[in-house]
């Protein structure tokens, strides 16, 4: 740090003294190095400080009529805007008690009158430098904190964009519109929230972060459909047994695609662990008749069990370009019938309790005619 010309502009020194001779003496001494403002009493000093750019340092006489230096200093230190301006007292007094009083009020030093020019210059220089370094470090702290906040936001944004980009790939090749992804994502979260204190699920679900990860991962449940040939994926009628076998492989393909992405990245991301689980197990059934593994009961990850209910409900109620959606009540009835066969009974109970929430979510992200037409053209 060069002492020579550390400022782009000269720092401003405010000199406060009721004796004109003192003011002109101080001005003469300081004006080469600093911009000098003067005030001949405390009230004027406060006015100068509050209007325009505040001074960088204040040299403050103590004995003044109307408002003395102590009182002026007290006002300056009470105001958050002026608190950090260093105040040096100018005084003829040299009593220790007076000095204590000044320091207690927040002054940084004393200069005794009659003033010694080198002392004035040295003390002004010292406190300006101290203030400048402090301000710089303060700025730097704020800068670093800001930077960390920014980076964190970026990481979160990248995660979300990654998931949405991957999910939208699956969408473009499927009959589903983007709304299916939005709806199932919200259903999964609603179910998870409902079950977070349930004795069978609380060990996993009673945690905001997990629920948030499930919410973010749910859109990837059908990512594997990217690997299914169009002739099968877009076939309007029933699948032949061979076609169905190929269709079933979307679960394995989905998990493997996410796994491959992680391997290329060289690290496992927690938010993708659920995505893999959901992609791989959302077609399993409680009674073991699902695919790809034929897992049953608690062997099916909770994330996959939640997704199964959400996915089936949405498939039932949603409109297609070629069909109307099933009424909500009918879909609820079908889910209830499948309690203990297709679905985890406790999850179905939770679903029954919040069926209205499902209906609201479905309404909120309803496919409009425009959505359906737009999607059909893709």
């Amino acid at each position: 740090m060069a002492d020579a010309n550390p400022y782009i502009e000269k720092p401003t020194v405010l000199v406060v003294d009721d004796t004109p001779d003192n003011l002109s003496l101080m001005s003469g001494l300081l004006k080469d190095k600093y911009k000098v403002k003067i005030a001949n009493n405390g009230a004027r000093a406060l006015k100068v400080v509050m209007t325009g750019a505040p001074p960088d340092i204040i040299l403050l006489d103590i004995m003044m009529p109307v408002m003395d230096g102590y009182e002026t200093c007290r006002h300056l230190k009470e105001n958050p805007e002026t608190r950090d301006i260093p105040v040096i007292f100018l005084t003829a007094k040299a009593e220790v008690e007076d000095e204590m009083k000044g320091f207690e009020l927040g002054a940084v030093d004393y200069i005794t009158k009659p003033i010694s020019p080198p002392i004035v210059l040295a003390r002004v220089h010292t406190h300006l430098q101290l203030k400048r370094v402090r301000d710089y470090l303060k700025d730097q702290n704020e800068f670093l904190e800001n930077e960390v906040r920014q980076r964190t936001q970026e990481v979160v944004a990248v995660q979300e964009v990654t998931i949405l980009a991957m999910a939208s790939l699956a969408e473009t090749r499927d009959n589903d519109t983007g709304n299916h992804i939005r709806r199932t994502q919200f259903y999964v979260r609603a179910l998870a929230e409902k079950l977070r204190n349930h004795e069978r699920f609380c060990h996993l679900l009673d945690d905001d972060k997990t629920i948030e990860l499930l919410f973010k991962s749910a859109p990837l449940h059908d990512i594997g459909k990217v690997g299914i040939p169009d002739a099968i994926l877009l076939k309007p009628g029933r699948f032949t047994p061979e076609e169905f076998e190929i269709m079933k492989s979307h679960t394995t393909l989905g998990r493997d695609a996410i796994r491959a992405a992680e391997q290329r990245l060289g690290l496992e991301l927690p938010f993708l662990a659920y995505a893999k689980e959901i992609a791989y197990t959302h077609q399993e059934k409680w009674d073991g008749t699902g695919y790809p593994e034929g897992l049953s009961g608690d062997d099916i990850p909770i994330s996959g069990r939640l997704m199964a209910v959400a996915d089936v409900y949405d498939a039932l109620i949603c409109r297609r370009i070629y069909k109307e959606g099933m009424p909500h009540e009918k879909a609820v009835g079908i889910i209830l019938e499948s309690k203990g066969s297709h679905f985890d009974p406790d999850i179905v109970d939770a679903f029954m309790e919040i069926a209205e929430t499902f209906q609201e979510i479905a309404k909120r992200f309803e496919d409009t005619d425009h959505d359906l037409e737009k999607h059909a053209k893709q």
Binding site: V96, Y110, S116, I119, A122, L137
Partner: protein
Amino acid sequence: MTDSNHEQQQTILVVDDTPDNLTMITSLLKDLYRVKIAVSGKKALQIAFSNEPPDLILLDIMMPEMDGYEVCSQLKNDSETRDIPVIFLTAKTDVEDEVKGFDLGAADYITKPVSPPILLARVRTHLRLKRMTDYLKSKMDQTGAW
């Protein structure tokens, strides 16, 4: 930066040929800082150039053999000790003497008899300034600029 914690670890070297002055100043500083003392300029230089240099030096001017000016100029002419702030302790209040001290690189003056609040305020100011500039310099060394 919490001042109290850091200042506790900072070391002040007090140089004076009068034992009473050393005792008095040490008693003022010892609760807040580590205090080392030297009764001559020569001893002061030995401590300043040791492996554990002080963070600040309070330096009497009038001493036999080697006076405060001489000690200061030797400290300021060596890159190892140049950045240690030196505050002169003096009964003199002559402007020319003050100019001479500042020209030699002193940071400030404290007039004797010493006023405790003034002593503590100036010591604190210059330790703070040194600590912050040291910090910035270390950052500068790390990054090449600041």
